[in-house]
Amino acid sequence: MLAGQEKAEVGVLAAAEELVLPRRPGWLFLVGRFTRRKPLGAFGLAVVLVMAAAAGGAPWLCRYDAEETFRVANTDYLPGSVQPADRLDSRSGPSWEHWFGTDQFGRDNYARVVWGARRSLGVGLGALLFAIIFGTTIGIVSAYYRGWFDMLVQRIMDSIQAFPAMFILLLLVSLTERNLITLTLGLGFVVITGAQRIVRSAVLSAREDPHVEAARAIGCSPIRLMAVHILPNVAAPIIVIFSIGIASVILAEAALAFLGLAPMEPPSWGMMLDEGRRYMTSQPSTMLAGGAAITLTVMGFNLAGDALRDILDPRIRLT
């Protein structure tokens, strides 16, 4: 009886152990499941990863520097004449030497696309980090304290948002020195208003949750409440803002570069688009290379962002 009872207890314990401590799925399984459920999102994520790899591995992925120029023999050259012996290999089509052709200054388009990823992603990440840090802080504090403080902060944000983002950006780049830091901060600045609004609405709901009430009841300070008990509960919208917002920032950076209002170095896809469009009827490779890089990256971030939103939003997830 005892032995049987022991056996039964052991069996129950084992079953309970299995029930309580299921095996965590491996990352490969998660990736597979994500790919099956969200194939477009997976494609977007793959594009983003490729671009991130290009940005990080540019020195190893390119045979040439982004600013290196190439020359070819001048076929009209006659020894002793005043013709140059060689000329710039500009606006050439794709070849084995230059996979995406060359631009007007004889630079390798492939190298400029790969090095351009560093600038686009760098500026995008930098601007979004800046916007998220400030937007989240403003949103949480504003929603937590509510009352006149919330009213004041939100009206200031409304006033800023009343101006078109591109107008603010053009103003900023006109008034400040053209470098990547000011460009990144400027792009981040125009995202802050939207980001803080989304975070604020999430916090307005989260601050009423029972666990926040409980924490307040045991005497947690407002800073601890906001940082430890509220912030983790609004992480999902922040991630979504990040993934979708970065696409807009990359696009805005390309637009500024296209307009000639961004720094000339390092290479920018928007700049390639601008330079390439000037001779797109005779040699479209520069414009296509820059345009394709922008399109793919923005599409990648948007698809990945949509998929993340679907996964992280409980309302959508349940349906």
Binding site: E67, T69, D76, V82, Q83, P84, A85, D86, R87, L88, S90, R91, Q104, F105, G106, E177, R178, G260, M264, E265, M271, D274, E275, R277, R278, Y279, M280, T281, S282, Q283
Partner: protein, 604 residues
Amino acid sequence: MAESDYWQRFWARRLSRRRILRAAALGGAGLAAAAVVGCAEEEKEATPTAVVSPTVSPTATPFVYEPAAYRGGTLHLPGYEAFVSDTLDPHQTEFGPVYSSHSAVFSKVLRYEDIEQGVIVPDLAQALPEMPDQLTYIIRLRPGVRFHQPSAVLGRSASAEEKAVGGRELTAEDVKYSFERQMNEASPRRALFRRAHQYETIESIKVLDPLTLEIRTKRPTAPFIHFLADSSAFIVAKELVDGNDEMNRPEAMLGTGPFMWDELKPLVESSFVRNPDWFGWGEPELGRPYIDRYKSFFLFDDVSVEAAFRTKKLDVAFQVNNPQWVTNLRADEPNLISVDMGFAAWVKASFRVDRPPYNDIRLRRAIHLASDRQQMLDAFWQGYGKMQGPVGWILKQWALPQEELLKKPGYRLSREERQQDEQEARRLYEAVGSPDLKVIFADQPAYIPQFAPQYKRQLEQVLGAKVDYETWTYAQMSTGAIEGTVPFGFAYDNGWIDLDDWLYPYFHTGGPKNDSGVSDPTLDGMLEAQREEFDPAERQRLGYEIQRYLLDNVLTRLDFVAAIWLWVAWPYYRNFRPTPFFGNSFLMANAWLDQSQPIWGSRP
């Protein structure tokens, strides 16, 4: 290269019996004018005559215009007239497209009939100035020249300016005022009269009667005839200048030229309408201008220009910086009028030499040698252009011959010589202590700032220098140049017609464009000597000497490259005549649209 082919085709196509007769007539007129200059006291010409300026020697047959078979219509051109980067004031702007607009609206005492051949003819004057001696110029103006009254043509109410001056007859007082305005040292806008140096030579201006004035110069001034026809010589009415000595407003654009100012839509288009009361250069019976209006569309990229031209929204076009579409189009459309013409505007760098580090000529020479001009030529215009010395190559009379220029360090093309130049550049740079360099690039045309990383790389690779750069607007560059805040600038400049314009204002101690702060008594003496030399051959020799001196001993301005523009026009655009300089839109008075051409029907 393509240039010589062009001239062969050009003259082969244009030579006809009528042309030869007309050319002979014009040549005869030129000889007569030369006689007038020499024997002014005995004869007084009542009819317009031409003179070959003492500044330029003729080398080819002059252009001959066809009489119009059709009148009316609007001519559509690409251009930068709608981009007013500094001011609308005709005496203060130094921006070529702006004085292109002025040249249609305002008249001068004389004008260039053929810039390349240096043919100067009367504009407001009845004839070329009489010269009793080398210091005195007697100018007789045409009677009945009246200021514009655009309200009557455009059907809108007259502005206060038009009420003040519209329809008034132009007199010698207007001419006197227009020159004295630029000589006025007490003007609050003194620094902005950037071609004031041309009038410094004037000692006195006397109005002898309402249509005659006498100008006396302090010293013999060979290019004075040219000054009277140059881009700052517009005659304006005193009533149009405000208390701050400015006429920087569209309402003040009331002149006596063949076209009247209609509308300026900034960065979109600029429109000019026919002046029905124009004096017609002594041939009012021709009824010029033949067209009713012309519009200049601000199109700043090749793709837009090509699309607009192919669809005939433009009647004429040229490449912005991609000549390939023009050459392709010429192959597609063999009936197009095609002209390849060098343009005087050029790309240059300039230094502020009254302070370190650029006061050391070794550093300037190092940068001069390190700058790869051939790369610029290829990058800017795919090789369609030429190396530029201190005087524009287009002025074959004055510029150092390309054969000589291309043997000079900094211009040499062979690999071995280029390597020698680069090694010497490095040696000189290290000898001056390898200072950091900062280059300020103008933001227009677009290929200038786009070239910035390339130029930085050139200097870094050749000199081993640490190079930084910034981009400034054209207006910032102009102001900075006057204020001396551009130690090392890289920009585009308009280009000029006469030897004196290329050198004196930039390099003379008191020159108004001497933004470098150069002050060299030897150079000043040479510049003054060429001004006083009336013999073209001797003046050419002096000009060559100055250019060699500049390249060997001064180098405050590094002249890089200038473009060859590939023009195309639809065959219905008659009397199409591109010029190598800004400021010749008065020639549009001869343009007409041939509606008998089959292709005319497809024009929108």
